[in-house]
């Protein structure tokens, strides 16, 4: 049995099911990260003192550059499919995957630098919320990379049999990826600079 409305738009919403689905998922993600930001505000306003300069700002800024660049390559990967340029699409999607990997490598160095000094989440309220927020965000990066690896690997076969559905999958992956970038855009100043 075929799943309906994977490519064609539903007559009532004017959307393919996957499109509405990914946006509802992102809405739930807004509430998930919103709850943690709300927790951060409560912890920070209730603290008698809040540490400054504990995090590596150049590394955090470099990670911001990596994620913004990956958002550009992701939207270009989708655009190349719309232009039926398969080789360029592969190039841009692979670039997005590599940039995401570099982000995680930087995060590994940042985490290990803290942990070597015994500065784990147990060390202070600031580090507890820092590891929670960036750890959850890092898991989202890993999730995005798993999906991208699938679309670069076995999932790429769909392009030959149903190019419209494959293009839609890239679009939904892109929407998720841009959201992950958007969350980091707020995490960086909140945790590293303020």
């Amino acid at each position: 049995m075929n799943i309906p409305y994977t490519v064609e738009e539903r007559p009532d919403s004017g959307l393919a099911n996957g499109k509405l689905g990914i946006w509802l998922f992102l809405a739930s993600e807004v509430m998930l990260f919103g709850a943690l930001f709300s927790t951060y505000i409560i912890l920070r306003t209730g603290a008698t003192e809040w540490p400054h300069g504990e995090l590596n700002v150049p590394l955090g800024a470099f990670n911001t550059v990596l994620l913004i660049s990956s958002s550009v390559t992701m939207v270009m990967a989708w655009a190349m499919l719309k232009l039926h340029n398969w080789s360029r699409h592969r190039l841009y999607l692979a670039a997005t995957f590599v940039l995401a990997g570099l982000f995680l490598v930087n995060k590994y160095f940042e985490y290990s630098d803290h942990l070597v000094k015994g500065e784990g989440p147990w060390h202070s309220t600031f580090l507890a919320i820092y590891f929670t927020l960036t750890g959850l965000h890092g898991l989202h990066i890993v999730g995005g990379m798993v999906v991208m690896a699938y679309l670069l690997g076995p999932g790429a076969k769909l392009w030959k049999t149903n190019p419209d559905q494959f293009t839609n999958r890239i679009e939904y992956t892109g929407l998720y990826w841009h959201f992950v970038d958007l969350v980091w855009i707020f995490l960086f100043p909140v945790l590293y600079l303020l």
Binding site: A27, S38, M74, K82
Partner: protein, 114 residues
């Protein structure tokens, strides 16, 4: 969302330009932090304004929210309403004075201590 090949081709340059603008705003955010503004409130305001501008660019251009179907706008409107309620929780917590000892009239040192 316009996704015919002609409009997508026309958007390629825009995607790169927005990416460049996002990098410039990131540099500005870090530069403002180096300046050490006079108050923490001002620093928070400036950082959040820049972050909101960057987030808006990602949402409207990369996520194509500038031209979407009304069902998606409806879902996002509900999300915004619930998000505002969620962000108001810390405010309500700070405003809550129930159970907080009130200063005694006359300012006695042992007021509320028994």
């Amino acid at each position: 969302m316009h996704s015919d090949p002609a409009s997508v081709q026309a958007s390629l340059r825009k995607y790169v330009m927005i990416g460049g603008a996002l990098l410039v705003f990131t540099a500005i955010t870090v530069a403002v932090n180096l300046v050490h503004l006079s108050s923490i409130a001002l620093a928070v305001t400036v950082a959040l304004i820049i972050a909101i501008m960057k987030g808006s660019m990602v949402a409207t251009v990369f996520m194509h929210l500038s031209n979407e179907k009304k069902w998606i706008y409806g879902a996002l409107l509900l999300t915004v309403i619930f998000f505002v309620v969620l962000m108001s929780v810390p405010l309500f917590t700070l405003m809550d004075t129930i159970g907080t000892p009130q200063p005694a009239i006359g300012g006695g040192e042992h007021a509320g201590g028994h």
